[in-house]
């Protein structure tokens, strides 16, 4: 299908659809609003997007980055209509149906981005990973700790880091998070990384917030940050077995 963005009416209809799912989770997808000229506008130059299953947030962000490059769209972070359209187009990824064909959407900001709300902007299920990917475009793999998750289940590591601007934009910190918490073999979070226990991702965020008062963290290398972390992080420094 050709890439579009939803207009105001389209966003309202999408919002009604999400509301309707709360009463009837088997509501069918209002696909017509994706191409109807009264609810969406075609983006030019024309670019095709295809239905696909994304393994994780990284795959989705990488794919969108390619699509936007083809369309000549360089600044899309705050394009509410575009992200709402993509969310609807990929609804089976963003709000997958269960075996009973029921969909249970979460907070509205996961589907229609709240671009001016600092507590919610990063929670959009597609724009969120794309923003992180773009912030680390020179080496997006370093932010894999926040991009390895399924699209519809970002989880605790994403929430811990993405909610803090000074952490999510810092290349060395994202490298540290990925080195500590992602198993290089499985490409998934290590056991215990998403708990509230010592050395887990939440603790790293607490420690880094304190370090930020003492050091210029943006100037540090990941190696230097790892060296000054307390012992509790030792178990995650070792490669996963």
């Amino acid at each position: 299908m050709k890439l579009h963005r939803l207009n105001k009416t389209g966003i309202e209809l999408f919002s009604y659809f999400l509301d309707a799912l709360e009463n009837d989770p088997t509501q069918t997808l209002p696909k017509s609003i994706l191409e109807d000229s009264t609810t969406s506008e075609l983006i030019t130059p024309i670019v095709e997007v295809e239905q696909r299953i994304f393994d994780n947030r990284f795959n989705a962000a990488e794919y969108f980055d390619g699509v936007f490059s083809k369309a000549g769209l360089s600044v899309v972070d705050r394009d509410i209509g575009l992200w709402s359209w993509l969310t609807l187009f990929y609804l089976d990824e963003t709000c997958p149906p269960n075996k009973g064909k029921e969909r249970f959407p979460g907070h509205r900001a996961r589907y229609i981005p709240e671009v001016d709300n600092f507590r919610l902007y990063y929670r959009h299920l597609l724009a969120g990973p794309y923003r992180i990917y773009k912030a680390h475009r020179q080496n997006p793999q370093r932010a894999f700790a926040t991009l390895c998750q399924p699209i519809d289940k970002p989880g605790d590591i994403v929430e811990s880091f993405a909610s803090r601007q000074e952490l999510i934009t810092n290349p060395a910190i994202m490298e540290v998070a990925t080195q500590l918490y992602i198993d290089p073999k499985t490409k998934l979070p290590k056991r215990g990384a998403q708990t509230k226990n010592a050395g887990a991702a939440r603790r790293l965020v607490d420690i880094l917030n304190q370090f930020d008062v003492t050091w210029d963290l943006y100037a540090m290398l990941s190696k230097e940050i790892l060296e000054v972390l307390p012992e509790e992080f030792g178990k995650f420094k070792a490669p996963a077995i």
């Binding site: 705050r78 709300n117 600092f118 912030a135 601007q165 000074e166 934009t169 003492t214 100037a219």
Partner: protein, 253 residues
């Protein structure tokens, strides 16, 4: 707001000592930074100076030389930002030779647009539209308090000025902010112009004519002080008259 403890002796540079001016040329954004105010601080001459621009997941960093030789980079384009709205700046001074130690910092510096006066930079309570579900308004505390009005209601600027809204919302907002400042944060100071809490304490004192704050341990007295401040503010704003007039018109329809 995440509270962090500064045990390091790091200097806090006042925002008034740093001025960042926005430049726009055919849609391209760049900035000039006036760092002359750094001369008023006791900083090591050889310490490095950096200026950072940020908004949400967008961040850029510019080396500005040393304290004794400020040297702005030729390229100060804010190329990663699509609009200037809500871009904030940080100035960092880091020690030379001491592994990235932060000596001094100024944060949350807003852009000043050409022709804008210094005093116009940040109103005490900026009003902004935002989707708020079924709520009409809410106070947002990112960086400093902002009054959010539900953008789905229509002309939010008119709502913010309407007599009924002013009469009901503003005393409530003042009470909420003062409770946060005086009871939750136990804040006392009214002199630090870089701390929004101090600005609100000063506002409450000056606009209401109330005297000194009760001791922070005396919670009950602080609540009474807040009640008095809100009452005095409501009187000055003539909120009862405003609402009464609105209500008469409403009842007559």
């Amino acid at each position: 707001m995440i509270r962090r403890l500064n045990y390091t002796g790091r200097l806090r540079i006042q925002r008034k000592d740093v001025r960042v001016l926005l430049k726009e040329n055919e849609g391209a954004l760049s900035f000039d930074a006036n760092l002359n105010g750094l001369a008023d601080y006791d900083l090591p001459p050889d310490a490095s100076v950096f200026v950072e621009a940020y908004r949400q997941t967008v961040w850029m960093r510019f080396p500005f030389g040393r304290v004794d030789a400020i040297n702005p980079p030729a390229d100060r384009k804010l190329s990663e930002f699509d609009t200037p709205e809500d871009i904030l700046f940080r100035v960092k001074i880091t020690a030379n030779g001491d592994a990235h130690k932060l000596i001094a910092e100024a944060d949350r510096i807003p852009l000043v647009k050409l022709g804008e006066k210094e005093g116009e930079r940040t109103p005490l309570l900026p009003v902004k539209p935002q989707k708020l579900g079924d709520e009409i308004f809410r106070v947002d505390y990112e960086h400093h308090p902002k009054l959010l009005i539900n953008s789905e209601l229509g002309d939010w600027r008119s709502i913010a000025k309407s007599p009924s809204f002013v009469a009901i919302a503003y005393p409530t907002v003042l009470r909420e902010i003062l409770v946060r400042v005086l009871i939750v944060d136990k804040h006392d100071d009214d002199a630090n112009t870089d701390d929004w809490r101090s600005l609100w304490v000063r506002f409450a004192k000056l606009s209401t004519g109330l005297g000194d704050l009760p001791d922070q341990k005396d919670i009950d007295e602080r609540f009474i002080w807040i009640d008095s401040a809100v009452a005095a503010f409501s009187s000055r704003m003539q909120t009862k008259e405003r609402f009464s007039e609105f209500w008469k018109k409403e009842a007559a329809q």
